[in-house]
Symmetry: C2
Subunit: 382 residues, 2 copies
Amino acid sequence: MTAPLAGYTILDLTHVLAGPYCTMTFADLGAEVIKVEQPGLGDDTRAFPPFKDGKSAYFATINHGKKSIALDLKDADDRVIFERLVARADVLVENYRPGVMERLGYGWEALHAAYPRLVYGAVSGFGHTGPDAKRPAYDMVVQARGGVMSITGEAGRDPVRVGASIGDIVAGMFLAQGILAALLDRDRLGKGRKVDVAMLDSQLALLEHAVAITSVSGQPPAPSGARHPSITPFETFHASDGLFVIAAGNDRLFEKLCIALSLPLSDDPRFATNPARCENARLLKRLIEAVTLGDTRAHWIAKLTAAGIPTGPIQNVAEVLKDPQIKARNMVVDVLDKNGRAAYFAAGNPIKMTDNPDPPTRAPAPDLDANRGEILRWLDEG
Amino acid sequence: MTAPLAGYTILDLTHVLAGPYCTMTFADLGAEVIKVEQPGLGDDTRAFPPFKDGKSAYFATINHGKKSIALDLKDADDRVIFERLVARADVLVENYRPGVMERLGYGWEALHAAYPRLVYGAVSGFGHTGPDAKRPAYDMVVQARGGVMSITGEAGRDPVRVGASIGDIVAGMFLAQGILAALLDRDRLGKGRKVDVAMLDSQLALLEHAVAITSVSGQPPAPSGARHPSITPFETFHASDGLFVIAAGNDRLFEKLCIALSLPLSDDPRFATNPARCENARLLKRLIEAVTLGDTRAHWIAKLTAAGIPTGPIQNVAEVLKDPQIKARNMVVDVLDKNGRAAYFAAGNPIKMTDNPDPPTRAPAPDLDANRGEILRWLDEG
């Protein structure tokens, strides 16, 4: 059993979320990830709550299995070490503001000239080109400017943020994909590439349906609360003890749903087709809830599942972490502390792959500069 | 200039969104993508609104640049063609319910025995293992069950769906990453792998901060509307003409914000640190809005941007598509019709890469079976 990225070395100059998320996925696929951190404080998220035993759980759950060396890239001795690392690495990843690496003498052009096989991955708020390239951004700024907030929330109320940091994470995922594509090509042809991913661009890339609607109608879609904007029924419904989801995405599923709920609606012209159901969505919701309010969520989820209708609970994060399917997929892993004890849990690797080790634990996130000696020895042996 | 995936052939048996999104990103990186569709109707989304000139804009914006051949995988003659295609392909991607490919005789084990170099990528609602493997799922079901809905929306109100279909798209992105990692390894060692991505797993993988909080406190986080749950100020604010975003993610940025707004708060113990600001978030919001209500969004965004503070508008999708930074990054592309005229627009490729062509147009999405003759000739030449 060998991980697919075994033997690849990632030099990781990133901090906070988008970049570290990208390199975490590389570690889960078997790459060696060496975090190069600023002496003193290191990655900002080492100071982010929540803490356990004085250490940031936030940092631990995104940086497990990486190594750390603290280098001052303005210091002559540290620059020598850094350049030896670059010479040995397959990939350099950074998420500084555009221009920072150039000022250090380590911009893409300089590195590419000196290390032509190196793949250079950068993630930033707005990308390395365009009028706003040098502006700072955080997740919330690109969620707002990139359009996803405008379609998330209840109609007639203020837009809301997506609870997960998709502004960062999705950009980190596109960066990971671009780097792997560049490595495939580098391994064949010997020449590295620069990959430049913007958080703002990545938000637009998520809006497929909303872009198609705007393209055809000229009208941007509004938020639609807990329902899909153009499929009905595809939303939350009240049972006697709370909300659950029914997603009957086509006529066949709607017919099955009517049978399961003993509602004679599938031949009714007001509900016979998806366009008609969208037109009469509020009435349909009331007719369905007149039935579903009569029993519990668990009852309806079991009954509809048996009938082959996509349905499910709305789970909070504690419930998700105990979900039997999530457990069976090894999607909750224990992050160990230095004594080998489980200290935190974290999301597992969603990329399940034959012959890739998928252990139920993860090595600890490194203390700042924890692997300096080991890394220097590795350089000397190289 | 050569695209990084030039020369790779992807056999694409997917339909609707998660799978087609994955293979769209491969096409944008230069792979040849051959859609194998069911005769008669083809990909379900060919019938999805909105339409233009009788064609689905939804289908067009996700399947541009692919080729199409219609094959009945239960028909003996079509199976011969299909197997010749598999023999020539680098990757097969499918998003059927687990078990469907096995019943056709084309499950991973059978294909791996016959075509050991083939990489096999599958995306499904719950994955190919675990108690719920065979249940049907749609985006909404995994958004609900996977936890993201529980942290999206306003406190005290019902949870809402993320307006973008991240249940599908994020799974398609993890699948793309897994396939590329498997290809890297295949190119070195000659052996393909199976990649098995679940939409449910992928939702959990997005919840980094919420998982860390739950891990340490045992308490799952609640939705926090338009603000970040543990950074303040990092939310929407009212100007005289509507809402905009300020994301002052650390003390230094908060100090700059106070200067820019002429608010003497950065030494006030109620606001001097992020934990204190979180504690007094509602009061701080009122103090900031007492200033920001006095002028327009455009005024404040310009002023705060000049001061180096992350800020921005909340744009609807039509506004995003006209955003100068988005335009400068070639993030809105024209999808052509068969006559070479721009018919729709779509999101561009967010993975910007040196030497990867990034044209402002995309070839049309194929009509069903449009490339049959060309594909059969390619097989004969091979």
